[in-house]
């Protein structure tokens, strides 16, 4: 039997050096400065499921995505894919693992080489990973993929600029699929698209997931999109995962005060009469984060302990939560 967990992230951290140049530092007598973009994040993604990461701008979503696809290296921690450690695997074995994880970016304009024909863009992973025996097979595969994503086989002769934003995102998806992956990291794949085009792409992603048994790490700041797509959701705040819950649970009974704040801030586009609450304060600088629980300056439940001690992860009704008030039962559960 295959293992149920496909991707496992353990205590993953990523620090960026944001110091001034060495000489300035010496003259101005400033210490080296680090920014903690990802702070000891752990989560796992089951095969065939969609795990979503949400959080405000700068919370570390894209950095986690880049760590998983090996665009940057972790400062510490481990990423295990199908039982093998990504940061510690090299050579041929790594190449195979890397093929199985592909990424789709937010900006369908920047992620496609404007000078290449669409057919060559999609064929590149096929060549790179040696997935076809002949040019005829490459062409056939490319045409099949274009068809799968809702474009025409003859579109392979065109250039990216001849397509709309939504169509370019379809091309990006076809390219990702050409590597025959089982895991797709999707960083805000529809944020640059209009809602009607977004609906087409989200439907397509669902269909492809069913057809190929794909597993998704889906990043978005739009909670209604996340609700539509995700089985489980991880909420990030200043690089830490403050809550990790099954999707239904998160929307019904958000456990962490920050999750509640995010949910309360969603605009009521259906005009159901739900009152949107004002958000207090703004996300602090990650270079100089608050002590203890980093959310404490904005939290209505914060007390002296919150300001000093970083909360540990505890489990409640299937949710993994890092919050003292939740652990101590100081927050009345809302049922809705």
């Amino acid at each position: 039997m295959t293992q149920q967990v496909l991707l496992e992230v353990n205590e993953l951290s990523c620090h960026f050096d944001v110091s001034k140049p060495w000489l300035n530092r010496m003259i101005e007598r400033e210490p080296q400065r680090f920014l903690t973009a990802v702070d000891q994040v752990s989560f796992s993604v089951n095969r065939g499921e969609t795990f979503a990461l949400v959080g405000e701008s700068g919370s570390g979503k894209s950095t986690i995505a880049k760590l998983i696809v090996d665009l940057i290296h972790p400062s510490s921690g481990d990423i295990r894919f199908d039982g093998q450690s990504l940061p510690n695997t090299r050579g041929e074995a790594f190449k195979t693992l890397r093929r199985r994880i592909q990424m789709i970016f937010q900006d369908p304009f920047a992620s496609l080489n404007p000078r290449w024909r669409v057919g060559d863009i999609i064929a590149e992973p096929i060549h790179a990973f040696g997935l076809a025996k002949s040019q005829v097979e490459v062409t056939r595969t490319v045409e099949e993929l274009l068809d799968k994503v809702g474009l025409a086989g003859r579109d392979r002769h065109k250039y990216p600029h001849e397509f709309s934003g939504g169509q370019r995102q379809r091309i990006a998806i076809a390219r990702a699929l050409s590597a025959q992956p089982d895991f797709l990291v999707c960083d805000e794949p529809t944020s640059a698209l209009d809602v009607s085009v977004q609906a087409q792409i989200l439907n397509l992603m669902r269909d492809l997931q069913d057809e190929f048994g794909l597993t998704y790490l889906f990043i978005s700041h739009d909670l209604s999109v996340v609700k539509h797509m995700a089985d489980r959701i991880g909420v990030l705040y200043l690089g830490s995962m403050v809550e990790n819950s099954p999707s239904d649970q998160l929307f019904k009974q958000p456990a962490h005060p920050y999750t509640r704040m995010l949910l309360d801030a969603i605009p009521d586009h259906e005009m159901s009469g739900r009152r949107r609450k004002q958000v207090t304060g703004e996300i602090p600088s990650p270079i100089d984060p608050p002590s203890g629980c980093t959310f404490h300056p904005r939290c209505e439940f914060a007390n002296a302990k919150c300001k000093q001690q970083r909360p540990a992860v505890h489990e409640t009704q299937g949710s993994l939560v890092s919050c003292w008030a939740s652990e101590e039962g100081r927050i009345a559960t809302i049922t809705g």
């Binding site: 085009v197 609906a199 009521d268 259906e270 005009m271």
Partner: protein
């Protein structure tokens, strides 16, 4: 009913090209009343920003108003000489753009920029203008305004900068604010705060606001009425609740269904087949007809104008003869 503050009538904006000309706005008509927020929705390229640019006389040449009229109360403003239009801008009509950084000068303090704008429009001395500037910052919710006023834009977060831009827009005490995607670059949490400021300002000063956005959440939250644009035309105008709950135009119906719901989870989102046509390929008859699942014979030949129904106005043949 009170007199409309802004009246746009059959506005046509064209871009001449070598052999043809592109009609980017095609007979756009709507009104905004004092103290009212009118939302403009539609996908990118529908003509929302161009409508705003045409109103404040900032169309990029060779784009120009080919026909139609724009009235600000009793004054016709679509043919004003450059000088008069410039005086109108900032004073009677103010603009708020998506990216607060484009509206703020990075090398001047917030105080400098606000005081200068205030003095352009109001006869106040330095001290009075500074006091007014602090009052404005306070109104848009900048904490410790008297301390922060001497900061530079880069010392403010994105949300605070957008508040400053709103304060700048309010400086001339305008009658109309055109806000083009004012919250698109901001996080939802900050977005809520900015919408609140806009709503409060509109309410307190009886300013009319044209709020351009592609975000239905923002529309539902902020607007009184909405105009839905498609391919340079108005598909439908109505009370926001009507548009959200009972959209009439087939395009609006598709658009509403395509938004994922926060309250219930569906297997598939409603999907409108195809995409909005480019300006050089707008079909004859109803511009939406190739994508419409309800089309009838005449849709491919005759173009529907806005038809009044008991729920608002809709340009769709299905509602002909429905007049209340």
């Amino acid at each position: 009913m009170t007199q409309a503050l802004l009246s746009v009538r059959d506005l046509v904006v064209e871009f001449p090209k070598r052999k043809t000309r592109l009609t980017a706005l095609d007979k756009v008509s709507f009104d905004i009343h004092p103290g009212e927020i009118l939302g403009m929705v539609g996908e990118s390229g529908a003509g929302k920003s161009l409508t705003g640019a045409a109103i404040i006389g900032l169309l990029e040449p060779p784009g120009h108003i080919a026909s139609g009229e724009i009235w600000l109360k009793d004054q016709r403003i679509d043919q004003l000489p450059y000088d008069q239009m410039r005086r109108l801008r900032g004073k009677r009509i103010a603009m708020i753009f998506q990216d607060p950084l484009t509206s703020l000068n990075p090398i001047l303090t917030i105080a400098n920029q606000l005081i200068e704008t205030i003095q352009t429009h109001l006869p106040l001395n330095d001290k009075e203008a500074r006091a007014r500037a602090i009052q404005l910052l306070d109104e848009v919710g900048i904490p410790a305004a008297s301390k922060r006023i001497d900061d530079y834009p880069h010392q403010f977060s994105g949300g605070m900068r957008q508040r400053v831009v709103i304060a700048l827009a309010l400086a001339g005490e305008p009658e109309l604010i055109i806000a083009d995607e004012p919250t698109t670059a901001l996080d939802v949490s900050v977005q809520a705060q900015i919408i609140d400021v806009l709503k409060r300002m509109c309410h307190v000063h009886k300013t009319a606001v044209m709020l351009v956005t592609h975000d239905m959440g923002v529309i539902a939250e902020a607007c009184d009425r909405v105009a839905v644009m498609y391919a340079g035309r108005i598909a439908e105008i109505g009370e926001v609740r009507q548009i959200v709950k009972q959209p009439q135009h087939p395009y609006t119906q598709g658009l509403m269904g395509s938004i994922p719901s926060i309250t219930e989870r569906v297997e598939r989102l409603t999907q409108i087949p195809g995409s909005m046509p480019r300006l050089d390929a707008i079909p004859t008859g109803c511009a939406f007809n190739p994508r419409c699942t309800q089309k009838i014979d005449r849709c491919t030949e005759d173009r529907p104008d806005l038809i009044a129904t008991d729920q608002g106005q809709v340009s769709c043949w299905l509602y002909e003869g429905d007049k209340p």
